[in-house]
């Protein structure tokens, strides 16, 4: 995705690289704070074990520290770091004799993961309003906005995200939690915008469904 002939080192990158080379610990800590979770999320798409994923990320940071003097700025710093992680994750997978999984980011078209349970719609070949809602979205109630600001709904969201496939969780984390733009996500993960949207769509749909269930149950109390 990154054009190798067009250096993507931003002014920001230059400051960070210079800071790292000068041994500026605040710059280093800042970098770790910024990328630790995204890197961990990416590692989890390669290795199933949380412990191994954390080790892969640590190995990545060590490689960054060791390699920073050789960084030439042909790609952005972020792309460079994420590629190191991908390399570390794949090497780790090989060393542990796990076959490299099919890319977690491949989203096969027609892979059945509808946004909403199809039974909630009228049959597509029926005579009455085919494909229209039979069981419409539940009303989240007049206090929904207030609830959505609270701790409980945060936990519902966090739990729902924990059940997502790693690639879906990662894309939603980067876009909606970390606030990355679509281009940045595609560049860092080296996936197409369309692919990114499919993963985002599936992730968000699942989380919405969990929130809906929460509100339905809250209304029963």
């Amino acid at each position: 995705m990154v054009d190798a002939t067009n250096p993507r080192v931003t002014g920001d990158d230059e400051a960070i690289v210079m800071g790292l080379r000068a041994g500026d610990e605040r710059v280093f800590i800042d970098l770790v704070q910024r990328y630790q979770r995204p890197l961990l999320g990416l590692a989890q798409t390669f290795v199933p074990s949380q412990a191994v994923a954390e080790e892969v990320v640590q190995d990545t940071w060590i490689a960054v520290i060791k390699g920073i003097d050789r960084f030439e700025g042909r790609s952005s710093l972020r792309t460079w770091v994420f590629r190191i992680l991908t390399y570390q994750a794949k090497s780790r997978g090989e060393r542990e004799r796990r076959s490299i999984p099919m890319s977690a980011f491949q989203t096969a078209p027609g892979q059945d993961e509808p946004a909403v349970d199809p039974s909630r719609f009228r049959p597509p070949d029926g005579s009455r309003s085919p494909g229209h809602w039979a069981d419409p979205p539940a009303d989240w109630g007049s206090d929904a906005e207030a609830r959505l600001l609270g701790r409980e709904t945060q936990e519902v969201i966090a739990s729902a995200m924990a059940t997502l496939a790693p690639a879906q969780r990662l894309v939603m984390t980067l876009r909606d939690l970390e606030g990355w733009g679509s281009d940045d996500v595609c560049a860092a993960l080296e996936i197409s915008p369309g692919n990114q949207r499919v993963l985002l769509h599936r992730a968000r749909s699942r989380v919405r469904a969990s929130l809906e269930q929460y509100f339905v149950e809250a209304a029963r109390v």
């Binding site: 280093f28 979770r37 909403v116 719609f121 229209h132 929904a144 969201i157 769509h201």
Partner: protein
């Protein structure tokens, strides 16, 4: 109500919501979607719920990376810069 051939069914719209919110639909599809929404309270509610989901997710505060992770890396960083000078 007879559906015109280019009218969206609700089951189709829920699959287009992300593309719609990302501004990644064609002008033609955007019009179909908005025409459908103007006549469908259920889908309007669904899109609103998706917006609320995204906004709420954005408020999750991940918290700082714990010292147990940062400190060992910092030690390695310090050591490496000492040898470089």
């Amino acid at each position: 109500m007879t559906a015109a051939s280019d009218d969206l069914a609700c089951i189709e719209l829920v699959e287009l919501v992300t593309d719609y919110l990302e501004d990644a639909v064609s002008e033609f599809d955007r019009e179909r979607i908005e025409r459908h929404l103007s006549g469908c309270d259920s889908c309007t509610a669904y899109v609103e719920q998706m917006r609320q989901t995204i906004a709420a997710a954005g408020r999750l505060t991940p918290g700082d990376v714990p010292p147990s992770i940062v400190d060992p890396l910092l030690a390695i960083f310090r050591a490496s810069r000492r040898t470089e000078s």
